[in-house]
Symmetry: C2
Subunit: 375 residues, 2 copies
């Protein structure tokens, strides 16, 4: 396995927030880190150059989607996902488990793997832990995730325990199947919303000695307090010297919250998805750029924002582009929202490094009002 | 009226092809020139920086669309279309006549102007020559076009004559209404497919002494030979010292043909529209990038193309993006097609300047096969 040379560079005295650093075959990653999502080997609307210019060094791509389109062997023949999509930073691919298991009626799980139907043509496929590892090896991501069972909520203890057993078994099979020396595997910690099962998951996954761990099955959206409680408990059981990744979290307040609880890595489609839906981040909360008040607002989204969009265009222009259903609208909004996420992460790192994370946390939370991001 | 300081820099000995140059309030334009279309104050999918980087110095925007959304007064308050859309090159706005008159059932013409319904909300509007000038003055384009009647084909001689009379009358009213010193007006030559009426139009429009002229009502698509004959005849009547603009033409072969006949300026949505419909220009004709043969083609669209897309991405990646319905697909294709148009124009200019336009014309036409651009 690739040696990630993990280091803890700074620790907050008030919370579990920390700055860490580790190596990947495509560069050094400093955490806390937010990874933009490039589901289909493209962060929607942007070129890889633009992702790089905003300041990102690692992105996430989805194994499930790439497996179906264009197919892992195409990416392998292209020389890997980095060459395919012109990205020289690091790439993390998920296991595909979350997507496949979201299909509900379209999938069947047994201890050997999971059967699912393609969202493209309805064809049947069967993901085994070995196939998922092989797929990610062909894709050539820097960090790969073994196939796991991401449970539902609520779910009976017995079922969650059974899914945990399968996930641990699959983790072992994945390690055995994994060949690439230039790829890192992160172990997935499941266990639903049961503390005893989370504890068991941590112990059994740590035993397998993955270079990093990922918290699965906790991004259920509505039950934020319960999620925070489970994250808090699970992270408290984790060793200091491994990166901790919480899958599928990406709103500013949650990131701040989970950094406080000791999480290092995040990814989410939220910043890019709401951007295409005309919702923009500001330091005081989200705004809907199509509102009438912006029609004649000839100032940038935020005056002190350094993003390409704010340096070149006004709210009035963005208002026009969205109303006119222009392609450029979602792109300019995506640039701004991703820049904002990277700004937030940079500020968080700085505040940890310089010892004022508590102040930053409290000030940001008091100023930032979550808008209504729905249609 | 703004002094365009028009110069003829070179003339071909074999044909009417020529290189000319003139000034606008936003820079010097060298012709032959192709203007990308930014209908709604944005060339679809691209930033103004990208248009500039490809090499364009003038774009076209549509008065009709801007009048309805965001409205000319918003653009005026923004400081004009250049500031609004972050474009420091020149802008030509059309008269809106073509769009309004394409609405058929939704419009009524009388000698005072044309009534039409908004495509956005069905509201009624009335374009007069004066309102169209006022709208373009608010937009702040460098070159504006007076309201005209773009006839249909076929059309009786008497009706075409009546429409010509109105167009000339409206040209006079437009000149009278026009106030901006930093804006150029081009006169529109109508007259349908009747040589006597084209001759009359040329004489009556030239009498009004617009700094440039535009050939209207000839882009009817199917009847290419008839169009070429009418362009040939009309241009033969034009004076040397005015730029000649043929509205709505933008396929490579037609540009080559009309440059030969003495046309200087072109615009068309074709290169950008077919790009979003997965059709790409190459020196040997158009290709459909979603074809199966490109799925594993890890070379650029054209090996010797210098565009951003060809320098960073392969056909296999573009094939994937289009199949996956990704936003980036249309954008990368648009960059390539516009780069190709600018390359073609540069090559045409070079061949005129260096005296081998005939060879270039013949070689390009023999190699370039028009593909089937339909779905």
């Amino acid at each position: 396995m690739f040696d990630i040379k993990f280091k803890v560079l700074a620790e907050d005295s008030w919370s579990r927030a920390r700055i860490t650093q580790f190596e990947t075959p495509h560069g050094t990653i400093e955490t806390p880190v937010f990874m933009p999502v490039g589901t289909q080997a493209t962060v929607k609307t942007l070129t890889s150059d633009e992702i790089r210019e905003i300041g990102f060094k690692i992105i996430l791509s989805n194994t499930y989607h790439l497996y179906l389109q264009p197919g892992a062997s195409i990416i392998e023949k292209a020389g890997g996902i980095h060459k395919f999509m012109d990205w020289d930073g690091a790439v993390l691919t998920d296991s595909g488990g979350f997507q496949v298991l979201s299909l509900k009626d379209l999938r069947k799980i047994n201890s050997d793997g999971v059967e699912f139907k393609s969202f493209i043509d309805g064809s049947k496929h069967f993901f085994t832990p070995e196939l998922v590892i092989e797929t990610q090896e062909k894709i050539g991501s820097d960090i790969a995730i073994p196939l796991d069972i991401c449970g539902t909520y609520p779910s009976p203890h017995s079922e969650t325990k059974r899914e945990l057993d399968i996930t641990v078994e699959w983790a072992k099979r994945s390690l055995k199947a994994h060949k690439r020396e230039d790829q890192i595997l992160f172990g997935v910690i499941q266990g639903g919303f049961y503390k005893d099962l989370r504890k068991e998951a941590v112990e059994r996954i740590l035993e397998l000695d993955f270079p990093g761990v990922t918290l699965g099955g906790l991004s259920i959206g509505e039950e934020k307090e319960l999620t925070a409680e489970m994250v808090d408990y699970t992270v408290s059981l984790l060793p200091k010297y491994k990166p901790r990744y919480f899958m599928g979290v990406g709103d500013p307040i949650s990131i701040l919250e989970y950094v406080r609880l000791g999480v290092d890595m995040f990814d989410c489609v939220l910043p890019t998805r709401i951007a295409r839906n005309r919702t923009l981040f500001t330091k005081t909360g989200t705004i809907k750029i199509t509102k009438a008040i912006y029609k004649e607002d000839f100032t940038p989204i935020e005056n002190d924002c350094g993003c390409y969009t704010c340096k070149h265009y006004t709210k009035a222009y963005l208002n026009h582009l969205f109303k006119a259903k222009e392609h450029l609208a979602g792109r300019l909004a995506t640039i701004h929202n991703l820049y904002f996420m990277n700004w937030l992460i940079q500020e968080i790192r700085k505040s940890i490094k310089e010892g004022y994370f508590k102040d930053f946390y409290q000030e940001f939370k008091s100023k930032y009002k979550e808008g209504n991001n729905s249609e």
